[in-house]
Symmetry: D2
Subunit: 474 residues, 4 copies
């Protein structure tokens, strides 16, 4: 696994829905394909045809799991789908979504991106009442809460989501249509767009572009339920919205540059961070010969930096497009080859140059260190690392797998120590205020940079407290 060699932050999921279209499963297939960057370990689609709920799911890429015969078996005019990144140990097929409530009466299905912070508390409560959990995914909690509600289905959905604390973008498929729900802090993205005489719903707007050139995108609001049904759309707040706190890492790293999230185009947000970084460097008198971005996610920020600074943008690092998922077991030597297999430097561009190297984040620091080494071996005179984000010092409990926080190097090292460790000539992270300036928006969750979580953390709170008591931040 190359992903063992290269450090990465992992998004947990993407969701997609279609209400309504004759070829809803096929459209969902294409939508999930456009969201594939949000999760590559499993995927699934469920469709509703009258009272009949059909689902198919499997491990692997969308293009591996689904063949014509599966798509054709998924009959119905409404569909929801999911791509999944599974955290270590949770790779069981039980956790691949959609999760299905296969009931005698009123079947329904759920897909979910995010993380429920009071999951443990809810599970214990539900277990006491007699509920059974077959997998470990948070989504199973949602199934139970909906089923145990009172009143109409839409009432039960409201009741269920009122109980959930944390981050989520959810779709619920049932006889009455599709419900799209976003947490009341607006932590994870969810939007919809009209399509023919129905709607497409997606974690990211880039998935709409595959089907249509229409650009009328509406974000589901924080605390809002949008119900897509035969008579149109019904919108309702199931919980008082607390503003939008969009995960900053969506703009920084996860989302596709062509997506627009809560009104901000991802590429442009990155370009703007590049500009802000350049301004800072100008102020502090840093000069360099070329600007390089670590492909692919830092290209936009590097372009922004170059524009603002006037220092030319160069394609100094090339990415091998075939870095796959399976691999021969790495020896120590091969492990060192890890970065070289994924990235290589164009010597003629970097040799003798003072380089501004734009990257989007530093987690464990090992990849950054190897990239510096790669550039220096190719003749770079200086390497100045500029991270288009603040330093990650705190774990995320809202759906991003930032590894265990013992591994977060910025929780253990000061920037100066880290710069030395990376063997860089200088290192600068952004301030949170820079990010807000760049995005022209403070509707952000920056908990992983600041430790200021927008929700209560429940049992996770205790873990964090214990950790920072024994590991005071640098």
């Amino acid at each position: 696994m190359v992903c063992e060699i290269i450090e990465e932050i992992h998004e947990e999921c993407g969701v997609f829905g279609v209400y309504h279209a004759e070829d809803s499963a096929s459209l969902t297939y294409y939508g999930l394909h456009a969201l594939q960057h949000r999760g590559q370990e499993g995927c699934g689609i469920a469709t509703m045809n009258g009272e009949c709920l059909t689902a198919y799911k499997g491990k692997g890429l969308v293009s591996e799991v689904f063949r014509d015969e599966q798509i054709q078996a998924l009959q119905g005019e409404y569909a929801i789908g999911h791509v999944r990144y599974s955290t270590a140990g949770g790779n069981e097929i039980e956790n691949v979504q959609p999760l299905i409530a296969n009931l005698e009466k009123h079947k329904f299905a759920v897909v979910h991106n995010g993380q429920i912070v009071n999951a443990k508390e809810l599970r214990i409560e539900l277990e006491k009442k007699g509920s059974i959990f077959q997998g470990s995914s948070d989504s199973e909690i949602i199934l139970h809460l909906i089923q145990q509600g009172k009143g109409s289905f839409s009432e039960r959905i409201k009741q269920a989501f009122q109980r959930l604390e944390g981050a989520y973008a959810c779709l619920v498929l049932c006889e009455e249509g599709i419900f799209a729900i976003r947490d009341h802090n607006g932590l994870r993205p969810l939007a919809y767009a009209s399509y023919q005489d129905g709607y497409l719903i997606s974690s990211e707007s880039c998935a709409f572009d595959v089907m249509s050139s229409s650009k009328e995108i509406t974000d589901v609001d924080s605390g809002e339920i949008v119900w897509f049904h035969s008579k149109g759309i019904t919108k309702e707040y199931y919980r008082k919205p607390q503003g939008v706190h969009m995960c900053a890492m969506e703009y920084i790293y996860f989302a596709r540059p062509d997506s627009v999230i809560d009104g901000i185009n991802v590429h442009e947000a990155r370009v703007a961070t590049g500009r802000v970084m350049a301004q800072k460097d100008k102020e502090s008198g840093v000069s360099a010969d070329i600007v390089i971005g670590v492909p692919d996610s830092s290209t936009s920020a590097a372009i922004g930096y170059a524009k603002e600074s006037g220092i030319p943008y160069e394609l100094g690092l090339i990415k091998n497009r075939y870095v796959g998922r399976t691999f021969i077991q790495p020896t120590q030597k091969q492990r060192e080859r890890g970065v070289r297999m994924k990235l290589s430097a164009i010597e003629s561009l970097v040799s003798g140059k003072r380089i501004i190297l734009i990257d989007d984040s530093i987690v464990r620091g090992t990849t950054s260190r190897r990239i510096v080494q790669l550039l220096k071996e190719a003749g770079a005179k200086e390497v100045h690392i500029r991270i288009g984000a603040p330093a990650i010092t705190h774990p995320c409990f809202y759906g991003v797998d930032t590894s265990s926080f013992e591994e977060l190097i910025s929780a253990r090292m000061s920037d100066a120590e880290l710069c030395e460790y990376l063997k860089a000539d200088s290192l600068r992270f952004m301030e949170i205020s820079d990010l807000i300036k760049a995005y022209q928006s403070d509707a952000l969750c920056t908990a992983c940079f600041s430790g200021h979580y927008v929700t209560k953390l429940f049992s996770y709170g205790t873990i964090i407290q214990a950790f920072y008591e024994s590991h005071p931040l640098k």
Copy 2:
């Protein structure tokens, strides 16, 4: 699929458990392998290691689903496993067992062979209380009922199984050990044997023989729970036993000849049916040159017939051992080749002969018809079909997939009509009384022959009644 070409009765499942052994997963692997004839579409194993429950399951044969790495990941000294035959439409991975209650406290797992006749009623009741079903298997009901019980885990198990009507052999794996439960009518087999300082538990005794030469086999009694725990065995009746009504098809068709079920060796039971059939033919003056059994399940009965009648037993029909599960799409012509691909006649043995052809059952009649044709084309002078069982006229609701009952040819045709349809020279089924005589036991369920079901049928009862009103039996 050859199984589309060849008519067959399908057993639903086999269960196996180990309490306790260091290599419990590996032993379960071997046990399931010995029970592979009871289900080839999926299999799984769960192990308990302290509080930690691990499971792995997949579609396919035991030898296809499990590799070393899976077995090694299944740590713990207690294990249960399952092989599954899935009925049409229920082929989803959600239904592959063991089913897991992956709870924060007190995880457990269930495997199950049989059918719950009040499943629909229980599902509706549980749904009303807020329970969620993710698959369509009966076993999921068991999970819920256990979870919703009161008191100690063993109390909850008792309460759960008191609610279930129908046929079942169940194993429940939990921290406290393994519970083995058999329905109070004794409809499906379940037995255990000591192994080193622990126990093996199995649907059929043939699985014990793989591990050990010990032959001390104890059947779980009707209505009994046997709890295998750290201090030994605790036995208890959770429900008043109604005697044993072992599914006659186990002796006739499903079970391996080397198994001993409720004290009766399967091979010998079949030999005895052969003898009884021969006595009947003697009485009615039927004479023939050779006796042939349809391999493999009718070989024992054919040997019995030959011994009793003095007519020589011959290997007249040869079975291709490589009739696999996947196949090129059959054309009509190829469909007709179906029987020939599976069976062929030794011409020199059958040519010019009057043949007693022993088979174990007739479901739709198409296979039997083709076998008669095969023998006649090979030169057989007469073919007298003797079925080592009564005619199947009623559907089974206790775990045997006898197809929809519109397809049961004996529900539509008299024996004489059927004989003509098969182009046989004579046809004789056994009487139920013959079966009892042969087995020297009336501890049998013969519902599929007689329509006398030992339990209430709940919603199935209505279906049957409607059917036989419009299709009076011949």
Copy 3:
């Protein structure tokens, strides 16, 4: 691999051809399926459509390698196919047949069962002339010899096969039709039967029965070429026939009981060996309670023994039908379980009994030893092993993989020593003269029993001589 646990003799191949039929590829598929017992590691089909040669091949069973799309892509009215057992180390896809001469003019394809004893000499000679070998199979030599011949294609075939020493049944597919060639000692089987207005050609007649009930089978004669072409059949001796020396192991072990080879039905030949063994035992006053055959290949002989001796035939050993090809890595303990996974004893039948145990051969002795142990543990009082063949003391160079001859236990031990090693109560092999008596034919190759090879052995001769000088036979 269970085959590492269980000792077995391996046949090298089966061939099948169709001239001519609209669905020739599909017919070949069914034919190969019927020959699957002759090789399970790979298979392939080639068809000829005008000048166009198409082939498809792969590793695995016929039903695994071929799907509808492959069969449909194989256009043409003539086809040949092959099932392969590969010896250790030769498992490369290059060796899977048919081998193709993909020439600009006059493409052809070859399938082959057998072994060329002067292969090494021919390869060296051909290499010197500039020929290239891409794989290690003997069949590649045949391609080259045909290509280097002079004159018409049929002339070139004759010239090619005149150079080959050893055992072979070959089919050559070309624009002019199909050529079927058998070695001039008649060591390997090859026959044909008419089918509609064309022909089927097969290693064993059992494959004809799948398509048709016609029983007109003609064996290709020793040293004969049969050319199936648009005007009918042309037969010719390319080499002086030296009589038929059919591999005795075909009758004893390999062939399906329903096949007729060189006029002898395999099942009946085995029954006759059983009778001869019984006569011998009668003469020497051996008495016993029951006769058991090791399934499946020894069932026929056991029936024969029972008939002749009057001692009842019993199904004392049951074979697990799901002994597959992949398996978890066996530990020592599991290795011992090997025989138990494959075979089990019916205790009630064998307990307290004196048993005649019929088997077809002993190679390394380990399996036989475990079967004796299995029976004794099930309570058998005495186990008398009767082998329906002489002891194998010499390696085969004619297409049978009898392992390296260091492993042949009868080359190292006298019968008395072997009996003691097996812990049997008595052991008797047949004499070669018994086999001839049973088959009423001396048209047999018995080299592996006697060391009298019907051909010169070339380089193999030196190996043998060296071995027996250092390992004098017991």
Copy 4:
């Protein structure tokens, strides 16, 4: 297959070799991985260990075909490997390289990138002499020619390659080491670099960077054989070099930007073409708001254009990184979605803009047409297509699959007609002289733009002549 939806030019192959290193197979694995962009349909590695030649190959990506066990089985200090793009119909496993001469004495193996233009003539000649071809790849001809040579192995290699006309970069592995051979017109790339105390040999230098930071790269010269052996390197011209005519498409499209081919860095060559295009546009007074490159191959040229013109470079088109190889069968509608699945526009960047769209080539025109539509639908005011290469009007016979030439749209349409078809606002190809100016080198093959082939075309010549007689160029 997305590749059915998206038009592409296909490179035929990449080769890699290691002489000598303990872990030669593992190094070759990493080398082939770096060359994966040159062929994704199959790959293989052969190693030499004393006299013993081992090979493994399969269909699929390097990371799919090879696992640890295969790499470990490939023992030896010399290795060669191959990645393959197979043209339609030649997808048989027989054609996957290395091809092996598995001889009794002096085994060898060959890998090959390129195309032999006198292949047909050589095959017919070799067939007449008795040679057999099992596949359809040109490389099999090389095996035969080497084998039929006289004298030492190195002599035979020289004789063989003297017979070959066309384009090739070849590696031959044998007991004496590795021979690297390049055609005497220098049409395909081949270079080597020292590694520890041995050498790495590769189609592209990017593969060296994975192993080492050393940048000493030597190109094998036109008509040169470089023999890597135990005493070092021996270089020799087997044929009079005719200068270097490096395939221009290597710089334009195939090669990785970080490779240096015949002294020219690919990225810089592309940047320079961008500059030349910008100069032309300046001269003709074209003005625009932004420059966009079609990712990934046109990014470098777009950057060059932007630098020269001063028009800002923007990331206007985003590529989905998960466009895989398998796909659900496209309907007409889905086919139209093809480009949208692969590419999407960032609306905020392109809306209202006059765009310079840089692409590397136009083959059938359908993709370019859809990209224009995509940009216009995203609001682009004008789209000016600039192709970083001359128009392709002639087929390639030197190893590039430019489809059948009926499909080359520039062979059928004038630039003006094409511009209209694409619905672009203007369209400009480069002149061949521009390319030479950009690369500062005329050591190029430009046959596909000019029809001036550097070799005789043999049978292909007739085909071309016939075509252009009936399809006069516009």
